[in-house]
Amino acid sequence: MSDPEGRADLAVKVGDVELSNPMLLASGTVGYGEEMAELIDLNRLGGIVVKGLSLEPERGNEPQRIVEVSGGMLNSIGLQNVGADAFVQDKLPFLEQFDLKVIANVWGRTVEEYVGVARRMDAADGVHALELNVSCPNIKEGGISFGTDPVQIHAVTAAARAATEKPLWVKLAPGVTDIGVMARAAEEAGADALSVANTIRGMAVDVGRRRPLLATIYGGLSGPVMFPIALYLLYEVSLVSSLPLIGIGGVSELDHVLQYLTVGATAVQIGTANFYDPTASQRLVDELARWCCDEEIPTVREVIGSLQVGEL
């Protein structure tokens, strides 16, 4: 039971994935969980989405890889990771000790690479679901990001769908004209849930040196500044998709969690807050339980999608 006093019912289901509570750790912000386990009790969380996995190990981008900006940060880590096989062999056993769901974040530079990782995750017992990170350039299609083209989202989702029986989540990219179109493409290709959203492109310049602060010129914006933008994107997606949704972006206070749930998220992911407030996820579980009790809400599931719009 997530509620320390055992009173609140925080359990939610993202499709077939049963979570003890809606709090997940976001991909790329907690590695493979080892370091976080020194600080928080992973058993207390709904789940962990591990750092994006590719077929082969990746070194990632050249430093400087992050810049702090007002209320957020830019990153261009470049998806450095140990690779799918090493993850299964060296990292997954650690996570299997805990009572939380393990979601593998999957990426590739071609559809085939996505499929390769998906197959390996399908075969790995401790993995409960896959989350496709479609914010990657497709090198076979001139480097256009999978996530900005409904045809490509459909293709990569359908291919991954064929490669795994496990629940398949698709993590949408925010920088598109109509995220609803992308959501529908993923849904039609067989996604079981949609994660909204990945980071937003941003830039910062060192004026003294007349150079970008990130080695890759621009990077992905995350943190509190993202919250109202991602909440709106989730709302947009909720209007066109009947899939379970996962709210991602800027979560650092209970009010953020509740806003996501109210607009229609079944769960949320906590990313950048893990850096500047490393016990935030666990505290939010407690706060959510207490809020449910104080508001006399028997189950947090009542909050999901409870938004009322239009005239009173």
Partner: protein, 269 residues
């Protein structure tokens, strides 16, 4: 590693934009070794968002027990400017101790060689604690303290108190040797016999110059590196540095595999 919300015990202003913060926290203090650092919040709001990495400067002891620690901070940007304005009683979130500390020489080899601590500006912060531990083990320690100018020289009192001989260098000649601290180090290396162990922390050009001398004299050389850090605990992969592994290089995390590295592995040579 402890996550603590701590009240500032005292703030003490030094010359040249530097100040010392003192916190009471037996957990972090007792676990801290020379070269360790903490991640400390620079305010309660979302701007600045990220915590700042700061080396453990001194351990505060009462009746022999470690009860607190201090940080030696230079005001450089937004976060440290806010920290400089803190008043006793103000709260901060502190996570630590973090990272891999300085590798200490085995006790039985301590007498063979000198331990030379080479520092520039606020890079001096971890060295008084290192000197204290080394001196406590009976090592022969010597400090080389550099700065732009007299008021940028740090930790001279700490070393004096520990009876550690100090070689001073300033860019403008306002104190000690006029020029880089590596000049003073080079003079000493030429004069001294043996292959002293070197530890350095400061601006990268300084550490690279120190490493050139270390390589030339066949000295073991540990450096404490800096990089922008998102998390300080190894989960964000923002603080990486390329490290030689013989056949290939890999990115290692300064916050986890460092901040102290064997200079020989950094591909500087």
């Amino acid at each position: 590693m402890f996550e603590r919300r701590l009240a500032l015990e005292s703030i003490h202003t030094l010359s040249g934009r530097c100040f010392v913060l003192r916190y009471r926290c037996p957990d972090i203090a007792a676990a801290s070794l020379p070269g360790h650092f903490v991640m400390i919040s620079a305010g309660d709001a979302i701007d600045p968002l990220l915590r700042r990495p700061m080396a453990i400067y001194r351990i505060v002891r009462e009746a022999g027990a470690a009860v607190g620690f201090t940080l030696l901070v230079e005001r450089t940007g937004r976060g440290t400017t806010l920290m400089a304005r803190a008043r006793a009683g103000d709260m901060a979130d502190v996570l630590g101790p973090l990272g891999r500390p300085f590798r200490l020489p085995a006790t039985d080899v301590l007498d063979d060689e000198e331990d030379l601590l080479v520092m520039g500006g606020v890079g001096a912060a971890p060295f008084p604690l290192l000197a204290e531990v080394l001196v406590g083990r009976g090592a022969r320690v010597r400090a080389f303290v550099g700065g732009r100018s007299r008021e940028d020289l740090r930790c001279l009192d700490d070393f004096a108190q520990l009876d550690v001989p100090v070689h001073v260098a300033t860019d403008d000649g306002s104190a000690g040797h006029c020029g880089f601290v590596t000049g003073a180090l080079e003079a000493h290396l030429q004069r001294a016999a043996g292959r002293p162990r070197i530890y350095s922390c400061g601006p990268t050009p300084m550490m690279r110059a120190v490493d050139e001398l270390a390589a030339r004299h066949g000295c073991d050389h540990q450096v404490s590196l800096e990089a922008p850090m998102g998390c300080g605990i190894g989960v964000c992969l923002s603080c990486v540095v390329p490290v030689d592994r013989g056949d290939a290089w890999i990115y290692q995390r300064i916050c986890r595999e460092g901040p102290v590295f064997d200079a020989a592995t950094l591909g500087w040579r």
